[in-house]
Amino acid sequence: MSELVIEKVTKSFADKKVLEDISFTVKEGEFVSLLGPSGSGKSTLFHLIGGMYSPDSGAFYLDGKKINGKRGAISYTPQSSSLFPWRTILDNVVLGAELFAKPNYDQAREMLEKAGLSGYENAYPHQLSGGMRQRVAFVRSLLSPQSFICLDEPFSSLDEFTRLEMQRWLLSIWEENRKSVLFVTHNIEEAIYLSDRIIVLSSNPATTKREFTIPFARPRKEELLLSEEFLQWKKAVYQELR
């Protein structure tokens, strides 16, 4: 059970207002995407949720508890996989859990297997491809004790083919676990394909411009990407972004 409520959050750095009056909610088991141009303050919002700094005004509530400036309340998958080069894959995925309790290696092995990474438990990050490293980073988030996951453009550094494959993979893993996810991206297709809802941000300063509820049923198939309806949605979102 985890629900994130963001209430009228504003943040400036120096004189520049980065976020203005941002409000939205991510419900239990929901997949919500934050869509906006690069540099629109999406990452800043994540850093605020993650407690790296406090907002100037407004508040974050996770399951009703205020988490302003509180670190470790959410589980986080960064843009670059940020794996520890001296740890094996198995030791890497338990890191998030390890910070709070003794990690469960059996569960970690099982999860790696489901993620299509069996056989790599004892490999080191530099031996894996970019897509695989990103998977490891996501498994690490899933194994962390926090039930709310924030993904910060996790596929932005991957090529188009790997990206597609990763989206499919992410959906299949997520549909099994159903942890609440907040996903940051600047890719419209990715946002529509993956999310229950899309929140479009404007830039300079970022405000919540519009919200879309994506009605496609789950589990979602790849064919969906080429359907007429999907393209209609893409058009609608695209127009909003302009």
Binding site: P78, S81, S82, F84, R133
Partner: protein
């Protein structure tokens, strides 16, 4: 190979130009002296080895502790860093007699000298290692809710290990030098003593035997450290987890 070639040239020259042994003994003379009078000097050798090992051990520990303290307490770092550098500006040759005056001819002043030459490279290298911790990994750890201690133990320390080892390698060679210098200034045994005795009685061959053993000892130390380094960080790759 180069060393062997040099030795051959040296041997040839000293035979060709009939250089007197007290001026420059041939390598063969040195080796002969080294073998025949083993029983005369072996206690010197062991004494110096012991002294170097103890001094080195203490030097490494002090170096690591100082680096850790300076790292964890930034105000202390600002206050003491210049002092650290100054401590390396005092010529050991001047300091050593002072230490003998203060602490007598026992082990203590000698170990102090070795510690003083050993700890500095380790402290500097370790501090640099701590400071170069990957910002991405640090960011992840903070977002994941790691405590300061966890960040240090799980991220900064392992990340600094290669740097620490470069410091330790430098110190390993310094430690033998430090031991020999400390022995020059008042000891009843050790390679330093043997060297001084040989020098004042124009036994140049013995001086070279002593030099030879200092080198061997240095190499031995160095080799051991390299082996330990391989053992500890064999799996690492500089590429990192990007």
């Amino acid at each position: 190979m180069v060393i062997i070639l040099l030795l051959i040239i040296w041997e040839a020259c000293s035979r060709l130009f009939v250089i007197p042994t007290w001026l420059l003994p041939a390598p063969s003379d040195i080796v002969k002296e080294g073998v025949t009078s083993w029983s005369v000097y072996n206690h010197h050798l062991f004494s110096t080895t012991k002294l170097s090992v103890i001094g080195f051990g203490i030097g490494v520990s002090v170096g690591l502790i100082v680096a850790t303290m300076l790292h964890l307490l930034p105000p202390v770092r600002q206050a003491f860093y210049p002092l650290l550098i100054l401590s390396q500006n005092i010529p050991i040759i001047v300091l050593a007699p002072l230490l003998v005056i203060w602490f007598g001819f026992g082990m203590l002043p000698k170990i102090l000298i070795i510690t003083l030459v050993c700890f500095f490279p380790i402290t500097v290298a370790t501090l640099d290692g701590f400071r170069q911790t990957s910002p991405e990994l640090l960011h992840y750890m903070q977002m994941a809710g790691a405590s300061k201690r966890q960040i240090f133990a799980k991220l900064q320390f392992p990340h600094a290990l290669p740097s620490i080892f470069s410091g330790v390698k430098i110190s390993a060679t310094y430690s033998v030098m430090g031991a020999v210098i400390s022995e020059w200034l008042g000891a009843n045994q050790g390679i330093g003593v043997y060297m001084t005795l040989a020098q004042s009685s124009f036994r140049t061959d013995r001086v070279f035997v002593a030099i030879g053993f200092v080198m061997v000892l240095c190499l031995l130390f160095f080799g051991l450290i390299v082996m330990l380094e391989r053992l500890l960080i064999k799996s690492r790759n500089t590429e990192g987890g990007k």
